[in-house]
Amino acid sequence: MNANEYQGSFLGRISIRRNQVVVMDAIHEQELEDIELFQKHVSDRFSELSSPSDDDAILSISWLRKLLDVFLCCEAEFEAILLMDRDPYQLSKPPFDRLIPELLDRAVKALDICNAVTNGVESVRHCQKLAEIAISALDQKPIGDGEVKRAKRALITLMAAINLDDKDGTNAKSTERSWSFGRRSGNKDRVAGQFRSLSWQVAKNWSAAKQIQSTIYNLVAPRGAEASGLPSPIYTMNVIMIFVMWALVAAIPCQERTGLPTHFPVPKQLNWAHSLIGLQEKIADEWKKKEKKGMAGLLDEMQRMEKSAQSLIDFTDSFQFPGDAEKLQEAAGHVAELTEICRIMEQGLTPLQMHIREVFHRIVRSRTEFLDVLEKGSLPVI
């Protein structure tokens, strides 16, 4: 009998639980349609993210927020497909008895990353405050020795913060100390103390890179029959979640990103994945370039801040009162750029943190829903 003959009969809707075979019927077809639509939406959304406007360069604060929105939308659709009108017993049988717990395990890892990144935004804010000191110094007219020294002091601290080694909050590079007592060995504690105070909220051995690595572990695309059923959107959601977390970690400083994986084992032939993989490769390239130099993250605003700050340090190095008119003008340009970046940060960092928090809450809620379903569907032990 073909699917059509079954359609009208009650018998056609019975799914024989003991086998994997689900009789093709109207309900199943609806599900396939939903899955297809879901993956089309995923593709569209990531395609949009890949062609940002000037205002949201990739990995800028506003782009990251768009990414988080994409996650929330995809997640909502995904939950609907998996859980709405779902017989709990279905999700406790193979392959879901493996896939769902794996998904939930990744969700827990994502929660930790959300927390680490939210904490990391504080160090971006710290840089913003240092930049603001430099700005307020150099905004004076006319600029004198005092202002320049003041700005220089702040800028050097800023550069040190930007070049902070993720690992233990100490400065790996030997830049000029931000204050006068650097040369005396007895004062090392003081120096280190300043940086260590920006210590992370996570345990010493926690590593963002390792965390991401462990989410990628065991990520295997569904094959064969599974590829056209529920395992497929589960895989998609896994990939999206991993990508979002990975992008956040690449952008925002958080503990121990050395060894951040740069390759995602996502098969290229998956339609919905093209834009996502494209983005991933672009970001990965940037990461590989910058990794060796040590940096505070690929956050667009931080990159721009670093450039301007470096130029201004050069300016302060060569400054002599009353200063060269051309150089002063150039410096003013950098100050303006820095001011703009600080403005963006001032307006955008807290909303970014709240947005990440929203994602955190959603993942928690979703996980609770899934755990609930698993509990209900658990077959009695005989």
Binding site: E147, Q194, V202
Partner: protein, 628 residues
């Protein structure tokens, strides 16, 4: 304000001030780097501050004079101004370092020894929260699932009596008054020169590391959510206890004191600034503190977690007003919000656990019957659990707001029990849940009883278990009050009926042997007793009795009184019947051959045999004595 008349005098003042500032310029001289002004000498410090004030004065004078005398705004004046600014910058840089130094000198961890009383730790006196350990738990059912394997150990003395010192906000002095004065003096100068940002940066970074060390001392760990999911619950319980103690100290003493310190140091410069410094210092640590509670609130639910989660909930609830008092500014919104979120998640978790508990009881699947028909471990576990729940009545009454769902939630192959809500009018949702739990438990027990091949044993099993339920309810005043005497009566009736059913199942057929009908033969020539029938009767009776004796001696009724009552009830029916039977028919047997084969037992033998019933011990075949 008039400009000073004597420019020379003014210049002298300025010049000497400038000298002092330049002398202490650490970028310029080795000597200046060697020591700290504020560590050295009170006098030096005062001189320095005066010098700074002097420079600041001349700066404002210079700008006044620049404004008022346009002609004087020459290159020279600009030059001068720049020099003054330069001097200011040197002074500010120095003051920043001094500020940092003073802070670091006085940034050790909070002295916590006086706050904790190690002798009154939470392991000393078990309060009424302690779970009684029932003896004679039968562990032979090998198909126990996790639910049954759990042992509830709940020893917790009430926190508030142990740590009186952390029951409300109490600010302590984090550093000596002199240091605070110095910091205040420096801050004032920095801020009036426009160096507020540097001030906040330095302050925040040093105080944050002080808080970090206090955290370490309080045993606040940096655990990730993943770590917490992986830990065994017992390990987490002690971490939760520790966290509750630490959180009280943090909010009420540590954070409150930091706030006071900020207020003191930035007293002269307005609330926004001390707020900013406070948040700069405390925001990160506060979030770190709450992250632990948050991780607990989202962990997987299972019944044994309920009580610690309620403890955590209560502790946080208790702390909430103080959290709101300490974090009262706009910039600390996120912290208050997080605390409220955690509280509501903990409440949700408690509700969820109870719901899942109810479901788990319903689905608890062990099919191996408990030997001897005694109390099932599930019954013990559930009744002990809800006794504990009734101890937490105060909290749970607030949290549990909806009635138990008795319908399609448990859809599956099994049907679910009924609960008549009409009779339970006026009961709190919590009480309804507790009653529902008992209903569900009984439903499950009914199912289990069907696995006994012997119907009598099935009845005995129900009798034992429902009786146990009744005893447990009676034993806890809170539980009894919530369950209500009406339902208690219902339960009592239930186990009494089970006793009756048991008796019917076992003894009807035994006593049937002792009936009168069928023994008399009436015919035209003889009216008397059929000896063969009578002999059959005795034989059957003896065999049945022996079988019952052998079997039911191994059955168990753990409750002494119940055991006695049932035996008496059996005796009351058995003994008189046998005595009367013997009385009427013994002569017929004794007049025949081998009477001892038929009248094997005396009345006394029977009385003695009944005493063996329900002891839970097997008896040897010989054990049913004969006195003949």
């Amino acid at each position: 304000m008039e400009l000073p008349e004597n420019p020379n005098k003014d210049n002298n003042g300025y010049e000497s001030a400038e000298k002092i500032i330049l002398r202490w310029d650490s970028t310029a001289s080795e000597e200046a780097r060697e020591k700290m002004i504020f560590e050295t000498d009170r006098h030096e410090a005062d001189l320095y501050l005066q010098a700074v004030d002097e420079i600041q004065r001349s700066l404002s004078n210079a700008s006044i004079s620049n404004h008022s005398n346009a002609a004087a705004a020459s290159a020279a004046a600009v030059d001068d101004q720049s020099k003054v600014n330069s001097t200011i910058q040197i002074a500010m840089a120095r003051l920043e370092d001094e500020f940092r130094n003073i802070l670091m000198t006085h940034s050790s961890a909070l002295e916590t020894d006086s706050l904790f009383d190690p002798s009154s730790s939470s392991f000393s006196t078990p309060s009424h929260h302690e779970l009684e350990e029932d003896d004679s738990v039968s562990n032979e059912d090998s198909s126990h699932n996790d639910l049954l394997r759990l042992q509830l150990q709940h020893c917790e003395s009430s926190d508030s009596s142990t740590y009186r010192s952390t029951s409300s906000i109490r600010e302590v002095d984090l550093m000596p008054a002199e240091a605070v004065c110095d910091l205040q003096a420096i801050a004032m100068r920095m801020i009036s020169s426009g160096y507020l940002r540097e001030c906040i940066q330095v302050y925040g970074s040093v105080r944050k590391s002080a808080i970090d060390s206090s955290f370490r001392k309080l045993g606040i760990e940096k655990l990730s959510i993943g770590d917490i999911q992986r830990l065994e619950w017992e390990a987490l319980e002690s971490k939760i206890r520790r966290w509750i103690r630490a959180a009280k100290v943090c909010v009420r003493i540590l954070f409150a004191s930091e706030k006071k310190l900020c207020e003191q140091i930035f007293e002269c410069v307005g609330t926004d600034i001390d707020d900013a410094c406070f948040m700069e210092t405390v925001k990160g640590p506060a979030i770190q503190l709450f992250n632990f509670a948050e991780a607990i609130s989202i962990s997987r639910r299972s019944p044994e977690k309920l009580f610690k989660i309620l403890d955590l909930h209560d502790a946080l609830m208790d702390l909430l007003p103080d959290i709101e008092a300490v974090f009262d500014s706009k910039s600390s919104d996120s912290i208050r919000v997080q605390a409220a979120e955690i509280l509501s998640r903990l409440a949700e978790a408690a509700r969820g656990i109870i719901s899942e508990f109810e479901g788990a009881i319903l689905r608890e699947p062990s099919r191996v019957p408990v030997p001897g028909g005694t109390i099932h471990p599930l019954t013990r576990y559930v009744m002990n659990y809800i006794s504990l729940i009734s101890d937490y009545k105060q909290t749970l009454i607030e949290l549990i707001m909806s009635r138990p769902s008795t319908g399609s939630r448990y859809s599956g192959d099994q049907s679910t029990p009924d609960m008549e809500f009409a009779e339970l009018e006026g009961k709190t949702p919590l009480a309804l849940h507790l009653i529902w739990i008992i209903v569900v438990l009984q439903f499950n027990l009914e199912g289990k009883s069907k696995h006994y091949r012997d119907a009598s044993l099935a009845h005995l099993f129900i009798m034992n278990n429902v009786h146990y339920i009744v005893q447990k309810v009676k034993g806890s005043p809170e539980l009894r009050e919530m369950i209500g005497d009406d339902y208690l009566r219902k339960l009592t009736g239930k186990f009494r009926q089970a006793a009756t059913s048991y008796q019917r199942a076992t003894w009807v057929s035994v006593l049937y042997c002792l009936r009168d009908e069928g023994l008399h033969v009436s015919g035209s020539f003889s009216s008397g007793v059929s000896k063969s029938a009578l002999r059959e009767r005795f034989k059957t009776f003896n065999a049945m009795l022996e079988e019952v004796h052998r079997t039911q001696a191994t059955w168990l009724i753990p409750d002494t009184q119940l055991r006695e009552e049932l035996r008496i009830s059996i005796s009351e029916k058995l003994i008189p019947a046998y005595r009367s039977f013997l009385g009427r028919f013994r002569s017929h047997i004794e007049s025949g051959k081998h009477p001892e084969n038929y009248i094997k037992y005396s009345v006394e033998d029977l009385e003695a045999a009944v005493l063996d019933f329900f002891e839970g011990f097997p008896v040897s075949h010989q054990h049913m004595r004969r006195s003949q």
